[in-house]
Amino acid sequence: MRFDSALGWESRRGPVAITGKVIVYGLMVIVFTGPLVGLLMSAFSKTLDPTSFSLWPDEFTLENFVQAKDKNVYLYLLNSFIVVGFGLLLQMLVSVFAAYSLARKKFRGMTFVMLLMLATMMLPEEIIAIPLSLVLADMPVFHANLIGTYAGMILPVGAWGFSILVMTEFMKEVPVELEEAARIDGAGELRIFATIIVPLCRPALGVIGVFGFTMIWDQYLLPLIVAPQSDMWTLPIALRSLRSDEEVGIGVLLAASLLALLPSIIAFLAFQRQFMRGLTSGAVKG
């Protein structure tokens, strides 16, 4: 069993090897989680010093979270949840519908549509930020102004190439016999879609759900463009405005940062398996 890893050190025993492992792994955990642990501890302590974290709350207090209410932090949090809730629902619906067409149907122009999907992955928000703000301010054909509305933050995240492609790959795996049997029994298109294909793709729904959640929650430029007034801000873009405060120092900023970090961390821990599957499917792109 010396050959279960490239370095072959996993199976070594003895005090030296074990000490080495403890040091290496301990350092790794500290380096990658240190800043997050520091934030967690500091958010619950009375920090008057705006320069350092306390790695242990010297005096446990909820003061920062109470103060956060006056600074509208919970309003921003609510905005974030509204956007991520509706945005994710829309994104998953759109992905499942599009994937059904790409995976289970053959039609002229299919390759072209696939290419379009890949092309969108090369077009991140950053590149089109300026013209996107103009489109949102005056939607072609509809002539609606989406600046300052939830719709302006929700609709643009509705279609995401990554989700569609992951879903398509998964739907191709559903045996065609099931579909044919249902057709012979006289089931209609929507019924086949809703009662056979989608339920069989439940694992993939978890994958695109957790990725979609972190993607939408992490949106920065889009809300920055769409929400000029602070009452529409989502939590990530509101953080900048909370940096300095006479009463609590950086306490509110720490509390708000923690609230901004927790949802995606919880989502990741709850859906770890799906997350890793999506990560290693090789389809992860911007």
């Binding site: 890893s5 955990v29 350092s52 599009a98 067409s101 901004a260």
Partner: protein, 308 residues
């Protein structure tokens, strides 16, 4: 009851009629299911792209656009601020990519194995990847505090290094941002490498051990060649993501001090939303797109040549 009868009748209709029905209905249903995605892409990706291209050749005023040809592009390519921003973007992208890949590979090798506690270490190490960039950047901004009491300065003080100015100095602002980006990028690369390491043939290791090859040679001749596809995936991702860095810089320094960490995207943002130079900003977006495209194509070409 009658309905089932008629439906049964319809199903035994002449086959010619049926194929005609199916041929007409199939594509229609396919396009209907695709419609929401295509519509959203059209509105929020393709129309903005076209509009950006259009605006990039104009001087944009509140009501009318004046055709100015290549002027905006000339402005970008000759302007010192743009030149510096492009350079900073390249340095940041390259440093983050190389740093994350090297460290990611190192950690992946150290952490490879079936033990239970390794799963815990992996999960903990992966946390930075899923965290919200804006919040993480605020945390690092505090850690980077340049006084002696700043967290990072305290830590390097234990090892005997003098306090650094980090984000506050023109000489170190870009490197500090890079440090945070590597911290966030390494675990991701580590995970991709780990997935690749699983696929390496174990019998090769055994054969190498029988031949008395050292650990280094085993890595050099078995593990690294097997990981080649992983390297290409990571380089491609880096090409797509690298140049368009925005949030990290915007939150940590907003391009300062004195423009020392200004990247392409923060400059475009300032031009577009603060000084209303929409034409030049749009041209900047197009340049960014072309650079990203070129990089991706180059990476893919290199990959083909490697494979051939």
């Amino acid at each position: 009851m009658t309905s089932t009868l008629t439906r049964a009748g319809a199903r035994t209709a002449p086959p010619r009629h049926r194929t005609k029905m199916v041929r007409w209905r199939g594509p229609l249903i396919a396009w209907l299911f695709l419609a929401p995605a295509l519509l959203l892409f059209l509105y929020f990706k393709f129309i903005p792209m076209g509009l950006g291209l259009w605006k990039s050749f104009h001087e944009v005023h509140y009501i009318t656009d004046t055709w100015v040809g290549w002027d905006n592009y000339k402005t970008i390519l000759t302007d010192d601020a743009f030149g510096a921003a492009i350079w900073h973007s390249i340095v940041l992208a390259l440093g983050t990519t190389v740093g994350s890949i090297v460290l990611g590979l190192g950690f992946a090798l150290l952490i490879e194995g079936p033990a239970r506690y390794l799963w815990f270490v992996r999960t903990a190490a992966f946390l930075p990847v899923v965290t919200t960039m804006a919040a993480v950047a605020e945390v690092w901004r505090i850690m980077f505090h340049p006084a002696d009491s700043g967290m990072l300065n305290t830590i390097i003080g234990w090892v005997g290094i003098d306090p650094q100015p980090w984000l506050a100095s023109e000489n170190s602002s870009l490197w500090s941002i890079m440090l945070m980006s590597i911290w966030r990028g390494t675990p991701y690369d580590m995970m991709i490498f780990l997935a690749g390491l699983v696929g390496v043939d174990r019998t090769l290791y055994e054969a190498a051990a029988v031949d008395g090859a050292s650990t280094w040679r085993r890595l050099r001749h078995i593990t690294l060649p097997a990981l080649r596809p992983v390297f290409w995936i990571l380089f491609t991702l880096a090409a797509i993501r690298g140049l368009r860095v925005f949030v990290e810089v915007y939150v940590l320094t907003n391009g300062g001090p004195n423009g020392s960490s200004e990247v392409l995207m923060t400059l475009i943002y300032k031009l577009g939303f603060q000084s209303n130079e929409l034409g030049v900003a749009s041209a900047g977006g197009i340049v960014l797109f072309l650079a990203t495209l070129t990089l991706t194509v180059v990476v893919q070409l290199l990959r083909r040549r490697q494979a051939a």
